[in-house]
Amino acid sequence: MGKIYKRASAAGLSAMLAVSMLAGCGSKKDDTKKKAELNEAGTYPIVKDGKLDMSVFTMSMPNVEDFATNDFTKFMEEKTGIKMEFVTGGRDDWSDKLNMILQSDDYPDIIFGVAPDLAKYGVKEGIVIPLDDYITEENVPNYLEVMKDYDMDITRETDGKIYSLAEVNDCYHCSYGRKMWVNKHYLDEMGVGVPTSTDEFIDVCKKFLEYKSDGIAVAGAVKGWFSRMQDWLMGAYTFIPSASAAYNVRDFAALNTDTDKIEDVATTDEYKEGLKFINELYNMGAIYEGDFTQTGEQMKTLINQSDEPVLFFASGTISDCIDSDSNNELYRHYEAMAPIKGPDGTQIAWQERNSGLSSGGVCITDNCKDPEAALRWADFFYSETGDLSSQYGPDEGKDWELNPEGKVGMDGEPALYEIFNEYSAETQNHDWQDVGIRVAPRDFRMGQAMDVDVDPYSPGGLEKLLYDATKELYEPYGENTNLRNIEVLKVTDEESTDVSTTAVEISKLIDENAVAFITGEKDIDSEWNNYLDALEKAGLPDLLKTYQTAYDRMHSQSKE
């Protein structure tokens, strides 16, 4: 028996050593590939003779059948002379897969349309390379043209270098995404108007509960796109930021533009007053119990019930909750409403100010032999034809057309382009649909030819419905506050390690206490100080300090 033990443990140890060495010699690169010769900048094909092979990682979507054989892929290959090999991950899994891939040696040259953690893989590990030297007129003219209207410093990481090309996808109605929808049908039946202040809101709810005793005045959900009704109601008291840019948790940290300092909204008196207001609604029976536990799907079921119980519901778009196609009657009963005014006149619409600009559109890894060629390939997507071709197909005239005669865009201006081959609900192989990067600055998006007379409440009129609601009911109130979302925040890997648990704990504390105060489980006046103490003990000051350091650092970089 002893002999066997000895033999086995020896074998085991050597196996462990073997693998550590395997993993340890991870950085051996194949340096035998030659750099390709490129044609003059700005011309196609990009490569001088023959083909250049490259690999790219991107997110895949079910409506693209096969990237390798896709018409648009072939078009790009002929045009640029670069043959792409695709490594893909699904919509919900690409992040896990990308993390895996980057841990092994065998990762692709380009990461496209999605981005890994750049603090880790870029700044710390150098697996994603800095692009500063490659972003030139020669390599990326289209990109620079697009970025003229934007601040490129957003793509700088903590060490001041640029690790990715930015992506621009300006969804107008999304930048004012936190909306509330009201059942106008009921309001008309009861003979009241849409409430404009907190007092009116309370009155309307009261009346509704008398009118329909088993009705639900305010519906919301914990999981859904802008479905948290408490966030919207708070607009009458203070600004509620969206999830933190650094850690994607709801820590309620916001930037005070007057002082340039980062504060936590969940500790302010205004926030406290807002909670009291919602508590009042709750005691009245206007807030549905399920709002704190249900998912967006359950809220959808609620709204669609045959007795039409819901008066107000929170959602980024009405189409998430009611289907215009199958239930158009119910769909027409609801309309968007403007933020309500608080007792001291506060009336805030949540706004996202970075106009859809985000870093991490295109990254190049250190496996890539020809970064210039790769960037020139990517640059095509930043041209108007490029963006349209990748989404709708490369056949100009058949799939899309630039500057169509006599057509108008969504903003009423002459249309910049018209789409013939729209997104398909089924699997197709002609273009990439919405995979990859989108280059859609606001004017470009608004420039899509629209049917001006479309009925907003028809299935095809959704875009117009959202545009109108945003323009008339929300945009006027976007500037009523000196608080802003912290749109971009770059933290270093070390900083992350220190406060990542804190961020999660703070967000849990805020959330759980908010619910407790609203439902009355905790009395807000007597427990408020305990709540503030708990936040402090959990490390809120440290978290804010980390954010402040990162923010100041970003700003000193952009002043350079």
Partner: protein, 300 residues
């Protein structure tokens, strides 16, 4: 003399037979196990595992000293022990099925009881939320008929634990009972017949013939169950969590997931995983040794 030689010979044959599984275990289990070291290092892909800086117990400390850690560990243990207590359910189910005379009913019951196992966790939780919905859920409607007010199953911390455990039983009882049914099928027929001849009633037969025969199987499964107390899977609880039940629903796996996702910090999640593994294994060893002393059956 002859016996010994035969023994020695046959041993090499056993080694030969088991060689393929052993190689498999070394390649696919023990080699990757080296990665556990990541939990003690500030892992840098560039430097590789050996080259990365040693940080010792930093991540363990981070994991164990966060404000939530005690609560999270407590929740995990409570849910684990509660689940353990439902251990007899598949056994009782199997015995019941075994005693059925009517063949087709027996087959149907078996097939239906193991079907829930196929339903993915996402759908299961979705169904549960729908059935227990405050307003339209069928369970609350039925409760309303007998005069009990609507119960906020997902919002009430007191109810959550039972909800979690019993929905788990719903999903796995039939599936787990299959192993006991197979074991019962192996009960020697002569023993059964002898008992009948002796005039034993059905109930007595179960206690004195069936049960002892499957006892070794039960013990092995029990040992495993103890080992699994602390490893509560993430998916189901994550889907069932919300701010109202968080005080009882936050467990080690979900908390680590939230922190890990936030940060792709492999060191942290490896350390937490290692902590869970250690505790489970220690429990396993203790229970196994106890069974070794008390009965004939044990894992090793």
């Amino acid at each position: 003399m002859k016996k010994k030689k035969r023994r020695k010979n046959s041993n090499w044959q056993f080694w030969a037979i088991i060689s393929l599984p052993v190689i498999y275990a070394i390649v696919f289990a023990y080699i990757p196990m080296g990665g556990i070291i990541i939990g003690f290092k500030d892992y840098s892909i560039r430097k590789g595992i050996l080259g990365s800086n040693w940080v010792g117990l930093k991540y363990f400390k981070q994991f164990l000293t966060s404000t939530n850690s005690l609560l999270v560990i407590k929740n995990t243990l409570i849910l684990g022990i509660y689940t353990l207590l439902t251990f007899p359910v598949p056994i009782i189910l199997a015995i019941g099925i075994n005693e059925m005379r009517c063949k087709w009913y027996k087959k149907t019951v078996q097939m239906i009881t193991y079907a829930p196992y196929f339903i993915s966790v996402v759908v299961l939780v979705g169904m549960m939320m729908q059935m227990m919905d405050l307003r339209s859920g069928i369970i609350n409607l039925l409760l309303g008929r007998i005069g009990v007010g609507p119960v906020n199953f997902f919002g009430n911390p007191k109810v959550f634990r039972s909800l979690y455990v019993w929905s788990g039983i719903w999903q796995t009882a039939g599936y787990s009972s299959i192993i006991y049914v197979a074991a019962l099928a192996g009960v020697p027929q002569e023993l059964e017949e002898a008992a009948i001849v002796d005039g034993a009633s059905r109930f007595q037969r179960i206690c004195h013939v069936d049960f002892p025969s499957i006892l070794p199987t039960i013990i092995i499964m029990l040992i495993f169950s103890f080992g699994n107390i602390i490893t509560i899977g993430m998916d189901k609880i994550y889907l069932m969590q919300n701010s109202m039940n968080a005080s009882v629903s936050e467990v080690i796996s979900t908390f680590v997931y939230k922190v890990g996702v936030v940060n792709s910090n492999f060191g942290y999640s490896t350390a937490a995983g290692l902590f869970q593994s250690l505790v489970s294994f220690v429990l396993l060893v203790i229970v196994n040794q106890a069974c070794k002393k008390l009965t004939d059956t044990s894992l090793w």
